[in-house]
Subunit: 375 residues, 2 copies
């Protein structure tokens, strides 16, 4: 905040009479470096006149990159930060020694309310740790979660899964909060009026699964009518891609393994597909004829189109873009961040989780029955 | 055993001077009914002169089906069983009331040693419960596991993952046993001389993951040189499909979710591919030209080619075929069962797990150091 580089830019941006939603962007953490990030911002700025940025990272480098993009002129405030969080940095180290990093600075802009939402494609663990440290958890939330997209057969083209890896454990109360937060996110972030929520398990029969999951099923079923979502019960791994559910709730360990398994499988099929279409001269001709079809397929499975894991349960919104995101991916994450800020979703989510059963004595009208608590 | 239907067949089979490996087959549990099972047996019998079957299920129906298949003449012993285990039956119910079922009868043939291995495409939970009840766990094994195949970039075309869903929990000692059993299975069932074993986690850095997984990593690293496998350390969901590992160890909850997520993703991509190739007249022409390429892709991803989850850790070998397996899938499961019986793999596996660290005092030469036990 003491660094004044670019402050004039920002003032002039506000001075143009347009109300801009300001997004704080960590320019440094991604695999493709700040050039890809700035290209993504430019892409977003071309499409959206109501957006502005506070960009954190290597000042001189960012000045040069931004100067090349006329779309960013006057709407991009640059904050110099010496340090960069690498993918190998331990979250605990960053919390103790990371004050000079672009990631810390980017989160700080949300804490100080100069920006409404933060976007980073850096180290997920460090970003979550910093976000928890600086933004703090929402009242009533024990474990924040990362909500991720999943390509699916649903009309929107994706499902939402949480927790994608914020925490490696979750008890029944955490799973209930994930359901409440996920439903709120689906409604306010993606316009799904009455989200269908499923609880990930190894079987759809009620007698299966771990104790905390069975207990969570009871809590979520009780909360569903009050919190205005439909609980479809237990779902299995294959349902992450199905159209019978919009929000899938699971612990962060299982969620992270499932996420990476799904990504890996899609990539393997894609590689095999490429090999199949280059195997013989005839298959190469077929590939040329099928260009449009294959491009259509690629688009539907393209993780860049639905890039952005959202941290839920904090006093402020943080969007984690994929580490390998290119300009298209960054721009998708920026769009998501913008939409979330516009909808005021974090305030709505805060109101929703504040009334979880744990606080039911304070809000008897919302959850009439206490959880039966068969643990 | 008191039912003598077809006993003559079997005697005559043995009487032909060929040594046959006898496989016990539950004909009834699959989604496609006994006709698909018998078609699968016929397919196997055409390729393999050293195979014989004890077939369990509805006697009159099986007699009719087998009579239509000249390949099965004289090598298929039919055992009538009234009951059928359905996909919805609870394992606990089958254990108490399932004595009259074809599944029970099929497992019993392995217990009595008239068959060397059992194959069923019925209810996984019931099959595991019955197998544990009748065959009992191997000495030193606390939780048996299901080892499943995974299409991968490895030369063999697949990786092995366990546990695919036999149990929903696993502590560090269980995970160590899965590593020992998985390595033994890869070596003796699939000819991988020095299997590379990885432990599924949410990150490859050593500080990540649950306590029992970190403890298991130490135990497995200690056991690796003695048990003649390479421990590659932590792997992530995406590595289920990679060529840096042959055997992936995880608990049955995570394994089952990952398995179904992977299957679901492959199916979704396949469906999207079909839609892409039927979208326009040009794409339909491309699809015709690309027939061979698409067939090649399909074959590489075809779950039927590597059908068969193997139950590890019991006094006897049980192969679980996919519930929806057709003749090709059944035949693949039969081939796996045959190969396992031929290699005497269960005896080798029993010898391996008998010397887990828990028994190290009885076999100091195999595991020199006691586990450090940092739980």
């Amino acid at each position: 905040m003491t660094d004044t580089t670019g402050t004039d830019n920002r003032t002039s941006a506000s001075g143009q009479g347009l109300h801009r939603t300001i997004i704080s962007v960590d320019a440094m953490g991604g695999d493709r470096g700040p050039a890809a990030v700035v290209a993504g911002l430019a892409k977003s700025a071309r499409k959206n006149k109501h957006i502005g940025f506070v960009l954190h990272g290597d000042g001189p480098e960012l000045q040069k990159l931004v100067a090349k993009r006329p779309e960013l002129s006057g709407i991009c405030d640059i904050r110099h930060a010496e340090g960069v969080v690498t993918m190998d940095d331990k979250p605990s180290h960053i919390i103790r020694h990371g004050k000079n990093t672009s990631m810390w600075s980017a989160v700080e802009s949300v804490k100080s309310r100069e920006a409404e939402v933060c976007v980073s494609c850096g180290n997920t663990g460090a970003l979550m740790a910093l976000s928890m440290l600086r933004l703090r958890k929402l009242p009533g939330v024990s474990r924040p979660a990362i909500a991720v997209f999943w390509p699916s057969r649903n009309p929107l083209g994706f499902n939402i899964m949480l927790d994608g890896g914020a925490d490696i454990r979750a008890d029944e109360m955490d799973l209930l909060q994930y359901a409440l937060m996920g439903a709120s996110y689906a409604r306010n972030g993606h316009g799904i009026k009455r989200p269908r929520v499923g609880l990930l398990n190894v079987g759809t029969e009620e007698h299966k699964g771990r104790g905390e999951i069975r207990a969570a099923a009871e809590l979520i079923a009780e909360a569903a009518p009050v919190a205005e979502f439909d609980f479809v019960g237990f779902v299995e791994g294959g349902d992450l891609l199905s159209d019978r559910v919009d929000v899938i709730v699971t612990d962060g360990f299982t969620g992270n393994v499932a996420l990476k398994t799904g990504e890996g499988t899609a990539k393997l099929v894609n590689d095999f597909l490429k090999e199949a279409f280059t195997a013989t001269p005839l298959s190469k001709i077929a590939a040329i004829l099928a260009t449009t079809s294959l491009r259509r397929l690629k688009k539907r499975m393209d993780p860049r189109r639905s890039n952005g894991g959202v941290f839920l349960g904090l006093n402020g919104t943080v969007v984690k873009s994929h580490g390998s995101a290119d300009a298209t991916g960054i721009s998708a994450a920026i769009k998501l961040a913008f939409d979330l800020a516009q909808s005021g979703f974090n305030e709505k989510l805060a109101a929703r989780v504040a009334y979880a059963p744990g606080d039911a004595q304070d809000a008897p009208a919302l959850i009439e029955k206490k959880p039966s608590g068969e643990k």
